[in-house]
Symmetry: C2
Subunit: 483 residues, 2 copies
Amino acid sequence: MSFTRFDRYVERNAQSFIERLQALCRMPSVAARGTGMRNVAEAVEQMMQRAGGGTRLFRLGSGYPIIYAEFGAGAHCFLVYGHYDVQPIGSLSEWTSGPFAAQIIGAKLYARGAANSKGDLVARLAAIEAYQKSFGKLPFCLRYIVEGEDALGSPSLYQFAAEYAELLRAHGAIWDDGYIDANGRLVISLGFKGIAFVELRAHGARTDIHSKWGGIVPNPAWRLVHALATLFSPAGEITVDGYMDHVAPLDEEDLRLLASVELDEEGLKREFRIERWARGLAGPDLVRQLVFGPTCTICGLQTGHTEAGPRTALPGTAVARVDFRLVPNLTPELAISLLREHLDRRGFDDIEISVLARAPVAKSSARSLVARAAAESAAEVYGSDPIIYPLDPASGPVGALCGAVQPPTPVVSFGIGYEGSNPHGPDENIRLEDFIRGIKYFGRVIHQLGRLAQEASAEKESEAAVELQHHRALPMKGATHED
Amino acid sequence: MSFTRFDRYVERNAQSFIERLQALCRMPSVAARGTGMRNVAEAVEQMMQRAGGGTRLFRLGSGYPIIYAEFGAGAHCFLVYGHYDVQPIGSLSEWTSGPFAAQIIGAKLYARGAANSKGDLVARLAAIEAYQKSFGKLPFCLRYIVEGEDALGSPSLYQFAAEYAELLRAHGAIWDDGYIDANGRLVISLGFKGIAFVELRAHGARTDIHSKWGGIVPNPAWRLVHALATLFSPAGEITVDGYMDHVAPLDEEDLRLLASVELDEEGLKREFRIERWARGLAGPDLVRQLVFGPTCTICGLQTGHTEAGPRTALPGTAVARVDFRLVPNLTPELAISLLREHLDRRGFDDIEISVLARAPVAKSSARSLVARAAAESAAEVYGSDPIIYPLDPASGPVGALCGAVQPPTPVVSFGIGYEGSNPHGPDENIRLEDFIRGIKYFGRVIHQLGRLAQEASAEKESEAAVELQHHRALPMKGATHED
């Protein structure tokens, strides 16, 4: 099938697609703040409908709405995941232009959420639109699920999956994390690390007091520092008792894929402005640590006063946020219980642990339909074969969508960002060229999925087809309801 | 001499004195913010003039003005120190009423600065006014010096002392730190610990990045935690190499005074809401540690994100503020160089140290005129002998005023706060009764100083009197000039 007509449609409408993305980025949707979330959800639903989808808005409890849309039809079904919420902006002063100004500077669009992941959402809907204009109806059922709590640990999505599991039965899922590497190659991953994100809290006096009492009143900051120091060695190893014993050895496919992963070590070092990697890593060891290494990262520390003016107070409370990225066979529950036991064993039973977010590991085979479609479609758009990570070092609520059914739905992930996108820091941005290529690529993935699905159906005609049940009384298209 | 007339004047004007204090507390003067400092300085100067002082405003460089005032005359001269700046307010949400509302609730005045130390300033000026109304001119020269940079490490005061050392030649100095203990006894101290207040800073990537990089990009938060953990043991001991070797042994007067110090252990534990003291201390060991123990206190930690919303970022920078309170024979310079060497020796030479504030130790004899006057005047007002600390566990720019001449001017300190004043935390407050008693007490201290000075002059008539030079061209009283 020739994509000439499709590509021409994309190019003719490129400006309009970019403007749609700018409009969406100008609607702030920081889940942690909670303002404007409903407006953004409704805007996303309208975009879905404009692209020809039947939609429904789900609101679970007091959570932010989940938008569910269906496109196309067929014996096969694929899920696409997106989120309309964005990360907190951090320190405003570190941004070159306003995080919600969505300014285009030098062929890049700067906005909180441009890379993570409003850009993917708008590009994929543009691809669906272009596909339909060029080839007609999608050759399978595509279920697009967009949540608003990615930065909050996706509580509504987990609840949605539990209540509407039949909507999630599918032959594969496509996630929205990924980027173009420094050599212009698409980075695809076959799953995600899990995560256990916890807050540790130590208490001293009821409030901050004069630091002249420092010699005799217990200091929660020292307490926390001493507890933290036992979790991770100066050499860079996780030293939580028994933790590393649970890390699974790599299998042959892991090792084969790892060997093909290229990391632009020098480019990344320049990007991050660091002189060396942690633990003196380099080459294959560095790649293996990035992809299959479990992590234990202090993401935040706060106690007392560090603003302008030397205020000498003995703090009343000290807080640390620690993020454990999980690899097979570590689960969030296991990580948290090992941490609790480790601290208790050392007398740190006064340190409170609260769980801020958790998600299990998700890992798919390179032979799954989604993995093949993603891998086989890349060269035509990006000019070279993709880099395939057996596991994305990031995490996501994959378990909510793909783990709601057994066996888990295979997941593949890619995205339109690049290494300089800085999706969790200031000046988040995408290159407009990547955005347009993302549209073209997604159109080809749709096509390839349709072809592979047809082949699979022909091969397995006699086998029982995956049951694709629709929710009994699901009012769709234009009619907006909330649960 | 009977104080009936003096006390009657104080009681008749109590309401007006309280209103003066409220007015001063309602003028925010957070040195770290810098707004309104000039207005407050001018208000203080006017209060000095209204109390009969000849005044002069000094501005050194870009610093906040220093108010210098002279009251009375005589062969003897005493310095009184105060500051009109206040600590940062910290978290506004922890305050019951506005920090600058100066509300009176249940016979307490709540305001940032009420205890530290606008209350002392207003009380002492009220005492000078009442003394003059009751007895006439002060029987010695009282030089009142009020700065606006107490919370900033007093850079202007040090510069002032260097340029106008002749104004600081005196027979003793009275500081404004101190409080009434849980048994209603006045706590007087014969000097202050020194301080070296430093910021430690570790660097990683150029900005916060996605924490999926946690396994391979150096994390400055871990770096800082590991460096900090080497400075202070979990058992509560300072473990900076060689540090404790410099702590001087106590002499006989130290031990005698220490033995008389009573600490309301249970009351303080209730006040702080702690279950036990650090290191399991109690009784005389607790007192000795408070008074003569050098401290190493984490006053602040900041890195990454700890606000609402679980943002998992790998931080680019991590900062700790550490406050070393110094005892004889530790100097700020020694403490800082030992810290630097200690970190370097362990490979932490990438950790930057910046000095936020420093002050040397000041320690006076119980036989000095100011110490005797303070001690002998307490019982009549507070109903019992004072508690005398050989060293105040707090610090101040004593070296600036008292160390400008050799031998250093003896210093004594007391104040109108109480144990619940929380001068560095939220809900700073004083009891109005303590404010009024502070006025009555300061009147008696003036009287006693006059009497002791007269005795000393008679005894030492043949000895050379301390030379009390005035600045040659110092325009005083009403005329406000700035340097």
